[in-house]
C-alpha cells in the first residue's frame, strides 16, 4: 500500500511537471531549412486597432530567403515593420520588401526592433490566448504559425 501511494504521488508530480513545462514552453516550427522559434504577441489594449508579433527565424540553408508576406486571423492587414529609438523619438517604418533571412543566419523579431504589425484588429488580443497566422517566404513557401500572447508590456524574447 505504501508503495502504491508513492507511485501515485510520483506519477502525479511527474504529470504536474510535464504540464508545467508544456504550458510555459517555447514552441518551434521546422519548415524545410527554416526554423521558426516561438512566435508571440502581446495583449493589446481594449479598443486598440493594432497588435505586434515577434519570433526568431533561423535559415539553415545555403541560400538567403526572405519573409515577404504575413497574414493573421486576428487582423485585416499585416505588415513587417522596423522600429527604433532615435534619441527620444520613436521611429517606425514599413519594410515593403520584407526581411531577408541570410543563409546560415538567425533573424530576431523583438520589441523595439523588427516586428510584425497586425493592423485592423478583428478582436482584442488577450493574454494567455493563442492566434494563428501564416508566414510566406520567397523560397521556402508558406507556413502556418501560432502566436502565444503575453501580458500587456510582457516580453517573451527570452523564449524565442
Amino acid at each position: 500500500m505504501k508503495l502504491y501511494n508513492q507511485i501515485v504521488l510520483a506519477s502525479a508530480l511527474a504529470l504536474a511537471c510535464v504540464m508545467t513545462i508544456a504550458s510555459g514552453q517555447a514552441h518551434e516550427i521546422t519548415f524545410g531549412n527554416l526554423v521558426i522559434h516561438h512566435p508571440w504577441s502581446r495583449q493589446s489594449p481594449m479598443a486598440a486597432d493594432v497588435a505586434v508579433g515577434f519570433m526568431t527565424i533561423t535559415n539553415n540553408s545555403k541560400e538567403d530567403d526572405r519573409l515577404v508576406k504575413v497574414t493573421s486571423e486576428i487582423s485585416t492587414t499585416v505588415q513587417i515593420h522596423d522600429m527604433k529609438m532615435v534619441g527620444d523619438v520613436m521611429k517606425m517604418e514599413e519594410l515593403p520588401d520584407g526581411v531577408i533571412i541570410p543563409a546560415g543566419a538567425t533573424v530576431k523579431l523583438k520589441p523595439r526592433a523588427l516586428h510584425i504589425m497586425f493592423m485592423g484588429l478583428k478582436r482584442q488580443v488577450v493574454e494567455g490566448e493563442e492566434f494563428s497566422g501564416s508566414l510566406t517566404f520567397e523560397k521556402a513557401g508558406t507556413v502556418t504559425v501560432d502566436y502565444e500572447v503575453a501580458a500587456p508590456g510582457g516580453d517573451m524574447s527570452d523564449m524565442e
Partner: protein, 197 residues
Amino acid sequence: MKHVRMIAAAAVSVALALGAVAWIGADLLRDKTSSSVFDIGGPFVLASARGGTVDSKTLAGQSYAVFFGFTHCPEVCPTTLYEMSNNLVSLGDAAEDFRVFFITVDPARDTLAVMKDYVSNFDPRIEALVPTDDQLKQLASEFRVYYARVPTSDGGYTMDHTATTFLFDRNGSFTGTLSYDEAAETKQAKLRKLLGR
C-alpha cells in the same frame, strides 16, 4: 627688478581673475543651458475624453505628467501607459491627486470617443486629451515634441513621435522627464521625488 616682479605678480593676478571670471561664466552658462530645459511646456486648454476641457491653469496644487502618443502605436504608447499605471498603484497615497495627460499626436484618427475607450485600459488617473491640429502644432513647439506621419502600403500611416514623459510639479513648473529607455525603477524614483516636492 622689483618693478618687473610687481608687473609679473600683477599679470598673474589678472590672469587668475580672468580665469575666475571665465570659470564662473562657464558655470553660469552651464546653469543657463540646464535651466533652459525649464522652459518646456506651456499653458493649454484641451478637449478631454471625459467631456469638457482641461485647462492647465486649474492644475495649481497638483503635480502632473504629460505624454504624447497615438492609439495606433504598437509598443511605446501602451508600454508607457501600462508602466505609468503600475507606478501610480505602487506610489500609493502619494500619487492620489497626481494626474497624467495622454495627448494624441494623431487627432485625425484619435477622436474623443476612441481615446476614451483606449485609456479605459489604464489607471483612471490617466486622462486622454485631443488637441486640434493647430493646438497640436503649438504644443509640439512648446514641449519640443516631434511628430510626423509615415505612410504605409495599405494607404494608411503610422506616426513617429517623441516618446518622453514630461513632469510638472504642484506649481506647474517643468521639473524633468521620464525617458522611454529608462529602467522602470528609475522612472518610479523620479515620480516619487516629484510627488515629494
